[in-house]
Symmetry: C2
Subunit: 250 residues, 2 copies
Amino acid sequence: LTTGRELRGVAVAGLPEIGEGDRLGELIAACCRPGEGDVLVISHKAVSKAEGRLVELASVQPRAEARRLASEQGRDPAMVELVLAESAELLRAERGVLICRTHHGFVCANAGVDCSNVPAGTAALLPRDPDASARRIRSELAKVAQTRPGVVIADSFGRAWRLGQSEVAIGCAGLLAIDDWRGREDAGGRELAATEVAIADEAAAAADLVRSKTSGEPAVLLSGLERFVQSDDGAGAAALLRPVSEDLFR
Amino acid sequence: LTTGRELRGVAVAGLPEIGEGDRLGELIAACCRPGEGDVLVISHKAVSKAEGRLVELASVQPRAEARRLASEQGRDPAMVELVLAESAELLRAERGVLICRTHHGFVCANAGVDCSNVPAGTAALLPRDPDASARRIRSELAKVAQTRPGVVIADSFGRAWRLGQSEVAIGCAGLLAIDDWRGREDAGGRELAATEVAIADEAAAAADLVRSKTSGEPAVLLSGLERFVQSDDGAGAAALLRPVSEDLFR
């Protein structure tokens, strides 16, 4: 016995290795047939590759601040230089861990700069504007597939008080990022006090359960989220950023 | 074109309203047929109700500290008394928000004390030992259903730097809470530096996408996670707690 509502997630198979200049939306539409109301969750690494956001570490000239911090934290100076360049603010530097607020406003380790699943000697930076990337991919998908699924761009973030990483949405288009239940009533007719569900983050997390870190499957198709998919691109994952003025843990 | 791997989530329908003393595992097994390798994600509220963790606010005697804090933060003194009693430590009290470390070690708002979806005038406390609750529910399920699915007990947590809440695992049994990729290699044969995937939290988040906050559906059945389901109950969600000594944001 189950309700009619069902969530389904499958990895999109058959995508080629992504390179600079690739139109990800077109490549994905050639490999799957997203239905109206589906959501495509794409690993940010694929987006960064398509957007040419890979940097050769040997080409990086670390400034004095990066060299000092790298030495203090036991890190590679070129990597630290990239992290600082991507950061609006360095929040913590301890035990080799750099927690940053990126120029986009994300608080995460290493400002999202990452050396996994990229060619040796290179590092991937986050897309410059992941919401714009999601909108562009959605529009490419719409052209080829004749449908406008929601698009989420996902990255793995650690958590301040929990071990392990969970995928979150760093960009999205056409998916309600937050489902706001405030002011609505619970099953007993009492007002729900503070219930804003981070739908886009939960979609990113669900998609991560389908992929493997080494499977080379950067895209996952989720169905069952029709009620959160919108024809307009919406406010994107920027809606998930807590304003700095409300940060209790600076 | 998709891979064989697929995640599926459906809400378990037909559960009665849960009351103190109910055996949740038996009730759930009467409403669905979990397969080997499935995972049941259960809202903590149902577990708290079954375990008699509802408190009548009128019966609470707020101590001086609770009265002072309630007045300062514009909160109900009885509610604040419960929050303090559930807390090992009050980390922040600002703008009416109380961020606590619970006796279990969870860092969350209001120490998990919650007045939604419970009878008027009452508050639900978190289960005393959610990992033990998960183990007990799993064993009840095994008796009736003759299978041993993984069990996750989920609650909605806010995030320090992101808006909206996401469900996380506060208890689990038979599911690998963290999938540790450290030391393994990425698709290009490079070592993955810091990849520990919080599987139990991602499962809780995925399940939340199936339910509605007012649907009265406290249990969701996930399939497709066989590779993380284990016959022994394992370390539980306690494995997801970052030790206080490693907390960079105290």
